[in-house]
Assembly symmetry: C2
Homo-oligomer: 297 residues x 2
DNA sequence: CGCGGTTCATGCATTTTAGTATAGCGGCAA
DNA sequence: TTGCCGCTATACTAAAATGCATGAACCGCG
């Protein structure tokens, strides 16, 4: 029963051990040594009064109690990182680091040129791009700015509606020369169709809005939209992707243009507190302009 | 230009120095010594690369940059405290600490018996009551459960509507015997009326819903509703308070019952993540029952 | 004006903490 | 089996952080 508050550094170590499930691995990540990490965990355990991990030669198994504490530790880590990003932009003028969250496809296919242009204008500005389809929590400030394909629901967020990204079926010219061009949705059953593997939340939100497709089974399955895009480009078959991305490649053909269309509403979202922060403002505006340009194509 | 992340403990001392505006005072609060606190600040300043305070013999003045970092540090502190509260309830069964936020009047006049009853049922449960009219942020987990008089807007909060607390004009019997009983709102101008001093957000939200009152000036002004209540009880004059509180005291009379009534909608609010936490569930349910009983009076 | 109060800064001794090296344990493959 | 590689735990040493004592500057007060 220790009455003193534990060192906040212990929380950092605790979180890393949770993530790595091993003292040694956590020590490597943190730039510490394994005995030190072990001592931190020991100290935290005596401080809270119950064990956090069961030790084993394979690593550490978190107890249920430790798992309940994990979200708090994650928030601590996200906040500490956000504090450092905020500090990085305090040297005057526009500079520092901004963390952007976007889907894989947007992050890989759309954002890089926008961000490169931005960086030419503001060389002091660093950008962290988290290209992932798992939604990062802006309230927790896991990211400063997010490109979202779902309408933001949270208060305390400033959102700008960018527009609708049109999606459609595309295939490589070589594939269509081999297998022919489908004329209607029924033709798809005679084609190699590229689709999703498991129903992730992101995918479910998309197929929920899509019309019923007469697709028996997919010839190529991948949850990663990037992998699907790569399959389309490789001539594997017919798949769905953003029209504007496909239009860049003269070998990619838009098929079933009349029979099928899907629109993804796009928002740019930022935490309200960052509205007055110059570096975030600049990035927000640059992304808004860049994405609008992208949509106009 | 330091590449290593600063110790999270530095954030804790940083925040305390911001709050206390002095190294020595912060050291006393933290159980450290003044040189240690000074070294923490020095280390943090070299780490972020710019000064956080201007030193003076009177204390430390935070720079603008330091003030921008403050909200992050506050979030860190709130989260660390929430983590410890969560840890305090992990010893099995129901126990630990729950932090409740409520208005001054509710916290002083209504909650204590409810919490005392709760504590008899669960002696292992500790309660932190923050009786203040400044709204604590549940998303930041500055409190676990809040009794709110405004509708909760945030997502990620579980709210239960309790009902409407009726307010009315009340005065002490001795006052009314001296000055007479007002029969309509116009009579109030010939009475000593107890009201607010400055327009705080909490007060503004109340008077916004109140009908126009023909009150020239207040004879007694206090922002604290508790102080107003005390003035009513002391026979200073006529003031507004919760009917149920006044009804407990046989010497307090409800006046202008027909001419004036105001209802405060009441919600019980909790962070969604805590719904499954036994100790919070128990407190939430006990508060809901207790407040409903209070409303039925 | 000196005096007690406060503040922060600095040098030095001590305690605390981290790192190094090693031992022990368990799985895996030749 | 034996050898290897991962993990954790422990003893010992080195480094770093803390506390103590002190000095200097500033404020208010008699």
């Amino acid at each position: 029963m220790n009455r003193v508050e534990p060192s906040w550094d212990f929380y950092r170590t605790f979180l890393m051990v949770l993530r790595e499930r091993s003292l040694s691995a956590a020590a490597r990540q943190l730039g510490l040594t394994q005995p030190t990490v072990g001592r931190h965990i020991d100290a935290l355990e005596t401080s809270v009064g119950f064990p956090l991990f069961t030790r084993s030669p394979h690593g550490l198994m978190p107890t249920d109690a430790a798992l309940e504490l994990r979200p708090y530790a994650e928030t601590l880590a996200a906040t500490a990182a956000a504090l450092l990003r905020a500090a990085s932009g305090q040297h005057g003028a526009i500079g520092g680091t901004v963390r952007i969250s976007a889907s894989e496809v947007i992050g890989v296919e759309v954002l890089p040129p926008i961000l490169a242009e931005l960086h030419r204008e503001h060389p002091e500005l660093s950008v962290e791009l988290s290209a992932s389809d798992v939604v990062e929590d802006l309230l927790r400030q896991e990211a400063d700015i997010a490109v979202r394909m779902v309408a933001p629901v949270q208060e305390a967020l400033v959102a700008r509606h960018i527009g609708a990204v049109p999606l459609g079926f595309h295939a490589h010219r070589s594939y269509l020369e081999r297998r022919g061009i489908p004329r209607n949705l029924e033709d798809l059953s005679r084609h190699s169709v590229i689709g999703y593997d498991r129903e992730t939340p992101a995918i479910r939100s998309i197929i929920g809005r899509a019309p019923d497709l007469p697709i028996g089974r997919f010839a190529f399955k991948a949850d990663s939209n990037l992998a699907q895009l790569a399959a389309i480009r490789a001539g594997f078959g017919i798949g769905i992707c953003q029209n504007a991305i496909a239009a860049r490649d003269p070998d990619l053909m838009h098929v079933l243009t009349d029979a099928f269309e899907l629109k993804l509403e796009t928002w740019l979202v930022m935490h309200e507190n960052l509205r007055a922060t110059p570096r975030c403002r600049v990035v927000f505006d640059a992304l808004a302009r860049g994405l609008l340009d992208y949509l106009r194509q």
